[in-house]
């Protein structure tokens, strides 16, 4: 019974809680955050259970109201969407637990609208992933984006301006995507992805299909912060409240990357995508430029959150590069990197939130070796996540890069191989300079500074989620063979 309705339950949980939070929050504002945790916890449990039952029973198509496609709207719960839903809901669950103290400090009194918006945003992201209908996807995209703009605007003084810039460029991207959907509809007469994919081979090298593909890639690329369209990202992530950046950074760009996977691999297929022009190679090159650009800009930043934001631009490049390789190893590497990057980035952004709570800033130049005494566990979690970002074995980040490298070797694409290796070195530069400040004594300062520091660890409600995510990175690292064998089973070709 539960299995057959599961896709709808996941989305409806968020609808229910986005209504419950204002209802209870008006009565007691402090109930909002626990309710949000419960809501995302239920959704996370559903999605983990759903992915396990996918592994046993195979894919599931849920027809709303019993109307079969192409007339009705459907949710498709297959390997790809099940995997993404599981990753984003579990990460969101931990981030929302962590946000309790950040909420009290960074947006006091605004908890009720904040968590209601967070639930709506998660509804949008889950809907984008699950839906099997291109126009429905646009509506969910706008739900997620509009609540995302509002979440980003709750933050420091320049936050509304950052959110406004994101709104302009994001809505323009969404509109271009809608125009692409319009072209596809006029050519095929359907909006259902599976139905449309069955008709497309007859429309090989059709101009309208090609234009629609370009419009969709550009529109979604804005949301994914693919290299030339990344301008909104650093400011938004820096000025938003710490819990919003921890919620949006690991999830938002991944969901857009998911749509690119769905459109290129499932809807069009590699052959039609490359029929008129080598699209996959072109987005691969943009991804490669984005990887290097993001890493180099991250080195230049002195603010932890801004550095992590540029690092996100670089990491989304890995995922898109895995897509552009269009072979099973590249796909498995990209999927594993989605999981790893969601966990690593959530962990790092949560730690930057803890620094802001405890120290009042997250300025890297002010980090020193007293932090090691004051926050031993936070810094341990930071070290694990940072080393995983760099990609040292046996942590998770190593394995996703390893499979991406296997993919580039499979395609004999030595340029991309070099980009991955150089970018790993650049990652090492910007993370080791922080680790050096924290764990090495500064020779130009007095000896006693570190010894005065007393232990002042973050509250348990923050330390437990951060710690679980950091341990999760080690577990994923050791379990990579199992995960990759599952992921290779999802690959459509």
């Amino acid at each position: 019974m539960i299995e057959s309705h599961l896709p709808a339950y996941i989305a409806l949980t968020f609808v229910l809680f986005s209504v419950l939070i204002p209802a209870f929050g008006l009565w007691r504002s402090e109930l909002s955050q626990p309710l949000a945790v419960i809501g995302s916890g239920i959704a996370a449990a559903f999605s983990v259970y759903g992915f396990l039952s996918y592994l046993n029973d195979g894919a599931l198509r849920y027809f709303f109201g019993g109307w079969e496609p192409p007339v009705g709207i459907e949710f498709v719960y297959d390997g790809l969407s099940g995997f993404f839903v599981m990753v984003i809901n579990v990460v969101a669950f931990f981030v929302l637990i962590h946000s309790h103290h950040i909420g009290k400090r960074e947006f006091p009194g605004k908890e009720m609208p904040y968590y209601a918006l967070a639930m709506l945003m998660m509804l949008g992201f889950n809907g984008m992933i699950l839906t099997g209908d291109l126009f429905n996807l646009y509506v969910f995209l706008e739900i997620a984006s509009l609540s995302g703009y509002a979440l980003i605007a709750i933050g420091e003084k320049p936050a509304p301006y950052a959110a406004f810039r994101y709104l302009i460029i994001g809505t323009a991207g969404g509109t271009l995507y809608l125009l692409g959907v319009g072209f596809m509809y006029t050519v095929t007469g359907t909006l259902n992805i599976i139905d449309m994919a069955a008709m497309l081979p007859e429309l090989y090298a059709n101009n309208a299909v090609f234009a629609a593909l370009i419009l969709m890639i550009v529109g979604i690329g804005v949301k994914a912060a693919l290299f030339p369209m990344h301008g909104w990202l650093p400011d938004s992530y820096t000025y938003a409240a710490s819990s919003s950046s921890a919620l949006i950074a690991p999830i938002g760009t991944k969901v857009a990357a998911y749509i690119l996977f769905r459109i290129i691999l499932w809807l069009f297929g590699i052959e039609i995508t490359d029929a008129v022009a080598p699209i996959t190679t072109i987005i691969g090159i943009f991804a490669a430029i984005g990887i290097l650009y993001g890493s180099i800009m991250a080195i230049a930043q002195s603010e932890l959150k801004r550095m992590l934001a540029y690092s996100s631009i670089s990491q989304i490049g890995y995922i898109i590069m895995g897509l552009s390789l269009a072979n099973p190893w590249g796909f498995a590497g990209a999927m594993l990197h989605v999981l790893n990057h969601a966990v690593m980035k959530a962990c790092l952004f949560m730690i930057s939130g803890q620094m802001r709570l405890k120290e009042g800033h997250s300025d890297i130049t002010k980090f020193d070796d007293s932090y090691r005494k004051k926050y031993p566990w936070t810094m341990a979690a930071f070290t694990i996540a940072a080393i995983s970002m760099i990609g040292l074995p046996p942590l998770a980040g190593f394995f996703s890069k390893w499979y991406l490298v296997l993919g580039t070797i499979d395609n004999s694409n030595w340029l991309f191989l070099a980009v991955i290796l150089i970018s790993s070195l650049l990652n090492a530069v910007y993370f080791f300079r922080i680790l050096e400040k924290v764990y090495m004594r500064n020779p130009f300062k007095g000896q006693k500074e570190a010894s005065d520091a007393t232990r002042d660890e973050s509250p348990l409600s923050m330390m437990i989620p951060t710690g679980i995510l950091a341990i999760g990175l080690i577990v994923i690292g050791f379990a990579n063979a199992v995960i990759v064998s599952v992921l290779l089973g999802i690959y459509p070709l």
């Binding site: 509506v139 706008e142 406004f164 809505t171 319009g182």
Partner: protein, 123 residues
């Protein structure tokens, strides 16, 4: 050649609107004007969908009529693009609402809506 323009004049207007919208977003420095450009861009896509669905001649609304058998598709308008655009218009209105809310927040904090002045104030 004339037929290429006159035969598709609705699409040409749509393209012109799309370009005006993009121009407003990219080159206008005032944030209100950027928002207006955004609205024009969205409306151009709405008009594209509506003009795609239009039919000339005897075509009418989708009410089953014994005089027009269902299998004669040319007698009925396709209602789907119109219904889709109702949703898209609502999305557009919601976007404008969020955009103006953000503009009010920006104006209250910085006392200007000019992009150059805003960037000067950050530095």
């Amino acid at each position: 050649m004339g037929d290429f323009f006159m035969g598709h004049y609705a699409y040409w207007f749509t393209i012109i609107l799309l370009c005006i919208g993009l121009y407003g977003i990219l080159f206008k420095k005032n944030l209100i004007k950027k928002t207006i450009g955004l609205a024009i861009l969205q409306i151009s896509v709405v008009l594209y969908f509506v003009s795609v669905a239009s039919k000339t001649g005897d075509a009418t609304v989708t009410v089953i009529d014994a005089n027009f058998p269902v299998d004669q598709v040319a007698n009925y308008l396709n209602p789907l693009p119109h219904t889709l655009m109702l949703t898209a218009i609502v999305v557009g209105v919601a976007t404008l609402g969020v955009a103006f809310t953000l503009l009010i927040a920006i104006y209250n904090r910085f006392n200007t809506l000019d992009e150059k002045e805003l960037i000067d104030k950050f530095q």
